[in-house]
Symmetry: C2
Subunit: 130 residues, 2 copies
């Protein structure tokens, strides 16, 4: 079930969205100037509408089952700079200006703490153009 | 159903993964040096194992229902530089060296073509530190 059955999202945008079975689309939050990938959240139509119209990144919390304006409790808000839909219509890229830490652990991004080991033969990257 | 019921993925990593109902985890591919977010794909345990051990980014194609070594048909391969799991264990960030276009449309990234309009009051980002 989608969190909301109706939304104020522009119908022309809504028509291009390909949602998961639960009515959601993954949204990648990226720091607009440094390029850091901060986190991945989920949006339904209404969360996307609010993100596009309020200037504050708004997600649907799958665990709490409620809208979640990033930073409302932590102060670590995400000011929206741009939003793009991918070629398949099933992923959003939101460029933001992140205040403070994006991660609830206090880390700057949600990807800072758990880098997985590569096998020895992996990670040998040839120079560009080869 | 997960695409494969068994995988060679390190059990210590597999134990930290939180998968969707269909056994998958979203994987964000980012160009390691420029920071461009290239695309989002999906990995099951075996695709992650292959990504960590072969040096080539490998996804599970939900539409074709098969493993997909990025670039095998297009030549636009992704050489793996690093892989990180997020704080919740439900998203992967794969830093890669992308050869050519990441998008099947020929665009460099899958997010180049469809930038959504922000409402006028959105997008007003105060300077850092305010």
């Amino acid at each position: 079930m989608a969190p909301m059955s109706t939304s104020s999202l522009d119908p022309a945008i809504a028509a291009r969205l390909k949602r998961s079975a639960d009515g959601l689309v993954p949204a990648i939050a990226q720091q607009y100037d440094t390029g850091e990938v901060l986190m991945l959240g989920w949006m339904d139509d209404e969360a996307l509408h609010r993100t596009l119209t309020t200037g504050r990144c708004t997600y649907w919390s799958r665990s709490r089952r409620e809208y979640w304006v990033k930073g409302d409790t932590s102060g670590h808000v995400q000011h929206v700079k741009s939003v793009a839909l991918d070629c398949d219509g099933d992923t959003l890229l939101v460029k933001v200006d992140q205040v403070g830490a994006a991660c609830h652990t206090g880390d700057r991004t949600c990807f800072d703490a758990d880098v997985l080991p590569l096998a020895e033969q992996a990670g040998r990257v040839p120079p560009h153009g080869s």
